[in-house]
């Protein structure tokens, strides 16, 4: 693996070089949160972020996306539509893991989803290791290292006055070659990088037990636990919208006069309409069934279907829940209940 270093100031110039050749998306400071947004200058990038409020999953799976266009009842244009060459700068290891989990759903031997796949293939991921995890972070419990470069094309570690860039793929190599301000990393830089990663890992204090959780849930479908759990939930679904692994969607037609588009929109298992039959029958009638579905899908069904847990421990559902539902506590209660 090749490693390069660049000074703090030069990162901005590096990003400037990329802009124009790619659509560059990076963490940007909004009024009271951080979000990945398209940047027109390196100065807009906020490098002191811990993580973005929303998951970058929308770059592969947008909240709303046109699937096809029709006119007078006939198909006139078929997607996937071109989103151009995009660079995601500064994506965290947990969110990259989220991409790989979505990949299991959208690109498998049964059906390959071209809307997801074309975006995935044209995107370049510049990951960035965490220095200051949040108190709600619990990625290490899910086997994710806050300094892990898995799945990235390039991976950055902030070592103080400098950034270490690991080149992991040919796409990453290509990006590095766009800019001549890089130097080869020295041993001291690499040692520092190691230390930063280790420190970050240390700082993640919350641990939840995932091993054995799937088996525990196997026998819990009828457990009274679910009747209490959902009680404070107001069904707002913010947990699923912000989750890097939630992938449920709706397909809707939008028509004005004779012309329209078929869209794929995010949907959520927390909404009663999600499973409502036209007949009026609803297999997940109350919050109890919907909360159970959300937890079961992440920690049981997804495991048996795809061999992995559908959670990356990013803590977004914990930070943003309006009624303070804490997934870590839920897991602990299941384990010890």
């Amino acid at each position: 693996m090749e490693e390069k270093v660049i000074s703090r100031e030069k990162v901005v110039t590096f990003i400037d070089t990329l802009i124009g050749k790619y659509y560059v998306f990076a963490p940007v400071k909004k009024k009271d949160f951080i979000s990945f947004d398209e940047v027109k200058s390196g100065n807009e990038v906020y490098l002191g972020y811990r993580n973005s409020k929303d998951s970058p999953k929308r770059f592969l799976f947008p909240q709303s996306e046109v699937m096809l266009r029709y006119e007078k009842g006939r198909l006139i244009e078929e997607g996937p539509f071109d989103y151009g060459k995009r660079v995601i700068f500064g994506i965290r290891p947990c969110d990259i893991k989220g991409f790989s989990l979505l990949n299991k759903v959208f690109d498998n031997h049964d059906f390959r989803d071209p809307y997801f796949i074309t975006k995935r293939d044209s995107i370049i991921l510049i990951g960035m290791g965490c220095r200051e995890p949040q108190t709600t972070c619990f990625c290490t419990s899910l086997g994710i290292d806050p300094g892990s470069s898995d799945g990235a094309d390039l991976f950055i570690t902030d070592i103080g006055n400098k950034y270490v860039f690991q080149i992991l793929t040919s796409k990453g190599e290509g990006i590095i070659s766009e800019y001549d301000g890089f130097n080869d990393a020295e041993k001291a830089d690499l040692d520092m990088k190691e230390k930063v990663s280790e420190d970050a890992k240390e700082r993640i204090r919350t641990k939840v037990e995932i091993s054995g959780l799937k088996e525990k849930l196997d026998g819990m479908f009828e457990d009274p636990f679910w009747s209490d759990l959902h009680e404070k939930c107001i069904g707002c679904a913010i947990c699923t919208y912000l989750c890097p692994t939630c992938h449920c969607f709706d397909i809707e037609d939008e028509t004005v006069n004779d012309k329209g588009v078929r869209r794929r929109n995010w949907d959520s298992c927390m909404f009663p309409l999600f499973t409502l039959h036209t007949s009026g029958h609803n297999p997940r009638e109350s919050g109890k069934e919907r909360m159970r579905q959300r937890i079961m899908h992440k920690f049981n069904y997804f495991v048996s279907y795809w061999g992995d847990t559908a959670c990356v421990g990013c803590g977004r559902c914990i930070i943003n829940c309006p009624v303070n539902m804490d997934l870590r506590k839920v897991i602990n209660n299941i384990n010890h209940g």
Binding site: L68, F111, P114, T118, G260, R284, Q293, Y301
Partner: protein, 280 residues
């Protein structure tokens, strides 16, 4: 890369009003492109997403049999936005279809066995597909005795009436058509609920497999009858319905536990259903 969300264009060749209530119509569809028809190879029990641009898509069981060439057909109940839009269409108009999706009736297990088909109301569509398939030419000898019990509220609500009468005349299928209330109608010959008729006819469970499809209430009372007759859960085959969008195991809503009805179903044996959570 093939786009699984792109519907094939099909022309409505014929529309048949199936019942007196006029909320059940059968649509015979013809592919506009020969290649699409080649791609759409199905087995009885599967479903497809019917697509009306501007209204949306709806998952509907395939009522025709692959032995019927040159068209596919669907019987659709007027229920929501898409099915109402479909009901408002006329012969000659073009709609979209994508699929076929899901699994099919377990013909590999059914071969060499007697077959009991039990249907109720308008949930007779994919069962009709299975019957036409089994009765067809060379296929017939792959199966033993075929018994069919089919019921509806009254004579006017029975679907595929001309075909039912034709099957009643055949010697290679034993037909028992019944209605909840006869109201003096000359046909069918029988009055009574499906579970009661099943009990009365008492088809043998020996080397036999049963396909059941109908409203919840019919299933609820028919299963105990079948169990009493000696049908084990792995030889009672059901077809489920669920709200669906993608049809290909991605949109996340039609699961029962860790099975997607669209991909791992819609056909499940009672043995499988007994293992699955009661959430359907």
């Amino acid at each position: 890369m093939q786009n699984p969300y792109k519907p094939y264009p099909v022309r409505i060749r014929r529309i048949i009003i199936e019942n007196d209530t006029r909320d059940l119509k059968t649509f015979e569809l013809v592919f506009l492109n020969k290649e699409d028809e080649e791609c759409f190879r199905y087995t009885p029990g599967q479903f497809a997403e019917l697509s009306v641009y501007g209204a949306g898509e709806s998952p509907i069981g395939i009522a025709s049999s692959p032995t019927e060439k040159g068209f596919i057909k669907f019987t659709v109940k007027k229920m929501g936005v898409v099915t109402t839009a479909l009901h408002n269409m006329e012969e000659g108009q073009v709609i979209g279809i994508r699929g076929p999706y899901g699994n099919w009736y377990p013909f590999h297990l059914m071969e060499g066995k007697d077959i009991v088909v039990i249907g109720g109301g308008f949930a007779f569509t994919t069962l009709r597909s299975a019957i036409v398939y089994m009765l067809h030419g060379e296929n017939r000898k792959r199966f033993g005795k075929i018994t069919c019990i089919y019921g509806a509220r009254n004579a006017g609500e029975l679907i595929y009436k001309p075909e039912l009468k034709e099957w009643e005349e055949r010697s290679d299928i034993d037909m028992y058509v019944t209605v909840d209330k006869l109201n003096g109608d000359p046909w069918p010959a029988r009055e009574g609920f499906v579970p009661a008729v099943t009990k009365e006819i008492a088809p043998s469970s020996e080397n036999s497999i049963c396909l059941v499809c109908g409203p919840q209430i019919m299933i609820k009372f028919t299963i105990p009858v079948l169990t009493e007759l000696g049908f084990p859960p792995d030889r009672i085959i059901n077809s489920l319905e669920m709200r669906m969008k993608c049809g290909i195991g991605k949109c996340g809503r039609c699961n029962i536990g860790n099975r997607y009805v669209c991909k791992d179903g819609p056909i499940f044996s009672l043995a499988q259903l007994n293992e699955m959570p009661d959430e359907y």
